[in-house]
Amino acid sequence: MTAVLIIIAVLAVIIWFIYAGIIRKRNKALDAFSGIDVQLKKRHDLIPNILTIAKRFMEHEKELLTEITRLRAAAIDAGPEKTTERFSLESALQNQMGKLIVAVENYPELKSDATMLNAQRTYSEVEAHISAARRFYNSAVNALNNAVQIWPSSTIARMIGVDAMPLFEVRETERAPVAAGDFL
């Protein structure tokens, strides 16, 4: 009888540890998600300023500017509930902004404009923070997803209703290798 009680107690402790581990991982992933949210909001706030400056010079890039405006609005509308869709939109937005920054090179007046230079610098800084927040989020989500998908924690996760979360992945075009030689 005592042995049975000990086994039950040990099992209860193990289950509690697994349960606590899952909750801790989920909370960490949610915390990381809120970190991304803050950084993405910075990007959303900055984009209108860049577009306002760019519109004055970039007459031939109207399509690109319109697309950026559309993606920004759609990403804001998606909200935190539609995470996968939102990440996809944010990724597309980042891609288009990258194209805009490259296109600036074709407009010497814009390229040397002090306000634009400052906006570009700030944008680059915001992107660095988004990238860092995304890496933390992906790391936290990866740990959570492993717990949610690998037995025995997968069973407990299902019982308490904790699901896997989507990774915030970047598009293939953004993974192009950096020409390190240009910076050395």
Binding site: A32, G35, S124, E127, A128, H129, S131, A132, A133, R135, F136, S139, A143, V178, A180, F183, L184
Partner: protein, 321 residues
Amino acid sequence: MSLTFDEIHPHEKGFGTFFSDRIAPILEEVEAARLEARKSFNTRLVICVLAVVPAGLALFVFSSFFFHPDTSEFTGWCFVAAIAGAIWWVNQPRRKFLVAFKQRILRPIADFLGFDFSHDGRDLCARFGETGILHDHDDREFEDGFAGAHRGVEISFEEVKLIDVSRDSKGRKRRTTVFDGVAAMMRMNKRFNGHTVIKEDRGRIGNWLTDAFNDFEKIELEDPRFEERFEVYSTDQVEARYLLTPAFMERLFAVSEAFDNAKLRASFRNDRLYLLIPYGSDLFEAASLRKTVLETDGLRKVLGSLRGIIDVRKLNERLGL
């Protein structure tokens, strides 16, 4: 006389001309000083050998015939002190020559490369107090300090030896070197508020036992090679990743490889990056009494070391955002 050195970086441009115009003419004089110092060294060595050997024999004979516990220890210490004094005296010409070489040759080269050189060093480790990477030590020695700015990045470095002083069971002092290498410090382009520390990986149990960072969170990074060699702790998960970009990790790895896979330590604190690179040999010793300074192998080695450390600056460039 010339020194062939690939002028890869902008701050190295024109080094060949500078060397021919400024350094080569002095080398002839420095070579004469080396020969003089070697002669003096050899003479002193012979004098010491001729004096110490008979003195040692006399002492041995004396203590064998007139052994007394009270006086024999004192006599022994006197003998040890005499040998230490003799070594110091014999070594003086060598030491003076090496200091003069650094002042006359290394200082102008450092100046050309944009550094202020100090043979005595600047005790850079005094500024490492809150970094969390300094080994526990009781005493430190430092020399060959460089301080300057490269491409807008303030950078300082010097050779450092950290020494732990302990006492054995008989109360005798024991000095153990706990770190021997280069300490470097640079101002970062990025702004940050937290504290991030990179240390050598000590294996699962070692890392678990090294619980020195109670207020810090362990940072799991994506690069498996980096994870295998280093452990990262920080007060801020996002900020740590903002600082440790994939490009930064790659470069820190390259710095480690450039110094024989050194188990280096780094700390981001107060807008600065602090580095400790263990190396174990004198990086900036370009001359020797035994070898002519007209052959520039030693200088080329020192220039290579300088370039290796200046390249640490690349850790600060805005890559991989």
